[in-house]
């Protein structure tokens, strides 16, 4: 019976393990192996193992661009998260204001950017909003008699353009999460704080924020991961094949992808991929531990 039961769970698990092994685990191991070789376009078949040279190249040769890509990625993640958390918090707070009507309608409309297929949204923004000739922004400027700007041609405007687009795409999720969290807060807590003479900011600071903190931590961490991993926006806005816009903005993910599929430095690209993987693993182990702690307190 025991033997029978033991073999049964493996019978259920095997198909998924084969699939995950082949599509997730093996490619990671293979990437790890490629990262130790000099594989490139010229060494497609006759590559050889060169040890950690690719890692050294990425980390210690400044002109390879990995370190600046890493800096861009960190800046991108921090700016995005701060803006998203602060703005989404206040937007959700307004939706929960006493006496506020029509909130269902507002929420539904605000959710549209989240529901759109993301690559469609990005392409729409690329041509419909940012395009130099007939993007809405430049049409608006032209109507005011201002000169046209190519938003994606230089790094700083391109970074800001990507930022605005990412905020547009990411706000709905954050707002919904804050909204759900605020609705789960016990109203009587806020009311008793009012009776104790607490003003609006006191209530927000000492009652609302501590109450939603444990609920918001997981979605915020999840969003931090997706922001850190953001690839589509940078790629589709500024570095499509045959349609480079002139900005040289790279995040570590686009850096790895471009080195693999554009400049054909497979070894370097794989080394970068492995380092990103380790970073993400460390970060997720660390954040899981913190969530666990929050649960114990709450």
């Amino acid at each position: 019976m025991n033997q029978n039961k033991r073999s049964k769970q493996w019978f259920y698990l095997t198909p998924s393990m084969i699939l995950i092994g082949a599509i997730v685990i093996f490619p990671i191991l293979y990437t790890g192996y490629i990262s130790l070789t000099n594989m490139s376009l010229y060494h497609w078949k006759d590559f050889k193992v060169i040890g950690l040279a690719n890692y050294g190249r990425a980390l210690f040769k400044l002109d390879e661009g990995f370190l600046s890509a890493l800096a861009t990625t960190l800046l991108w993640t921090v700016v995005n998260m701060v803006l998203q958390i602060v703005a989404a918090f206040f937007i959700a707070l307004g939706l929960n204001a006493p006496g506020m009507k029509l909130t269902r309608l507002y929420k539904t409309l605000l959710m549209v950017p989240w529901a759109m297929p993301s690559y469609v949204s990005i392409l729409i923004w690329r041509v419909g909003i940012y395009n130099t000739d007939f993007g809405l922004l430049n049409k608006f400027r032209a109507a005011l008699g201002l000169s046209r700007i190519s938003y994606l041609a230089e790094n700083v405007p391109a970074f800001l353009s990507c930022l605005v687009l990412n905020l547009w795409m990411a706000f709905p999720f954050m707002i919904m999460m804050f909204d759900a969290a605020m609705q789960s807060v016990d109203r009587s807590l806020l009311e008793s704080a009012s009776l104790d003479g607490a003003g609006f900011f006191m209530k927000v600071r000492y009652v609302l924020v501590p109450a939603i903190r444990p609920i918001m931590l997981p979605p915020i961490i999840m969003t931090a991961f997706t922001t850190f991993k953001q690839f589509d926006i940078f790629y589709l806005l500024t570095m499509q094949k045959g349609a480079l816009t002139g900005s040289t903005l790279q995040t570590i993910i686009t850096y790895a992808q471009q080195n693999a599929f554009v400049s054909n430095n497979y070894g370097l690209s794989s080394a970068v991929s492995m380092m990103i993987f380790v970073l993400i693993c460390l970060f997720s182990l660390y954040s899981n531990r913190n969530i666990g702690r929050e649960d114990e307190i709450g």
Partner: protein
């Protein structure tokens, strides 16, 4: 008292104004694309935010001049194929993780989460090279396997959480009555877990429908383009000519997703928060 009321009404009016502006900001890109898609000819340069006249021209042209139906067909094959493969592997696994207590269970579940944090795009080259050596490039089944592998972990976690909420006693009662394992699972567990299974299926479908980087890297022959590949090609060429076509295609691709999204939205929010809090 009435002064306070007036103040309150003033505050709410300002709030409403803020939300109307926010909603407009959220909708303007979509409205603009819709306007372009129903505007005449190639007037992308002159079109304003709202349409002057409405014509279905661009929608007719996207079917006549571009192989839109073929892209659609390819996307449907990829989505449905992925869904079937992901479910065939993930449902039994979710069941096993939910019902059996074995030594490696905790470790396996945790490593699945860790693997899920790995951005699939980072191993894209490894898969690409592997597929090239195996002759799986430019095949739909190859891409389906990649998609199913990427979505398998998510599906397992998503459904395991729901299976956990179904009392074991129901199964035991059925076993007492002499039902076999297969009968118990097919007759009792699957029907009870239907909401979770449906939501997971829909999420897999949406994922494949919205995926472009693997589909534009792995399917390179023109007849194989999915919707993502087709739309990508429409906007990458000479804009001024194909931009109205692109806008019509963008609307056609987005509408089904919008409909599905708003139907399952309440599950998405509750599922994400519940899963998140449990860690």
């Amino acid at each position: 008292m009435s002064a306070k009321k007036v103040k309150n009404i003033g505050r709410l009016t300002i709030l409403h104004l803020v939300y109307i502006i926010l909603c407009l900001l959220a909708l303007i890109p979509v409205i603009y694309v819709f306007t372009l898609s129903v505007s005449k000819g190639t007037g992308a340069l002159s079109t304003g935010l709202l349409p002057k006249s409405i014509t279905p021209d661009n929608y007719v042209r996207i079917f006549r001049e571009e192989p839109f139906l073929q892209w659609l067909g390819n996307s449907v094959v990829l989505s449905v194929g992925t869904m079937i493969l992901a479910m065939l592997t993930a449902v039994p696994a979710a069941y096993a993780y939910s019902r059996y207590r074995f030594k490696q269970r905790g470790t396996l579940l945790k490593s699945l989460l860790l693997l899920n944090a790995f951005p699939q795009i980072l191993s894209m080259f490894a898969i690409f090279r592997l597929y090239k050596l195996l002759g799986l490039l430019n095949t739909r089944i190859g891409l389906i396997i990649v998609y199913a592998g990427s979505m398998c972990i998510f599906s397992i976690w998503n459904m395991k959480g729901y299976f956990d909420t179904i009392p074991v006693e129901i199964e035991e009662a059925a076993r007492m009555d002499g039902a076999t394992d297969l009968q118990t699972i097919a007759g009792i567990i699957l029907p009870l877990a239907r909401p979770a299974i449906i939501v997971t299926c829909v999420m897999v479908l949406i994922f494949v429908w919205n995926e472009y980087i693997f589909s534009t890297t792995f399917l390179l022959q023109e007849g194989q383009y999915s919707l993502a590949g087709g739309l990508y090609q429409l906007q990458s060429g000479d804009y001024s000519r194909s931009w109205p076509l692109f806008s019509a295609a963008a609307i056609l691709v987005s509408v089904p997703i919008l409909l599905v999204f708003f139907r399952i939205q309440k599950y998405m929010v509750s599922g994400l928060t519940a899963g998140g809090v449990k860690g």
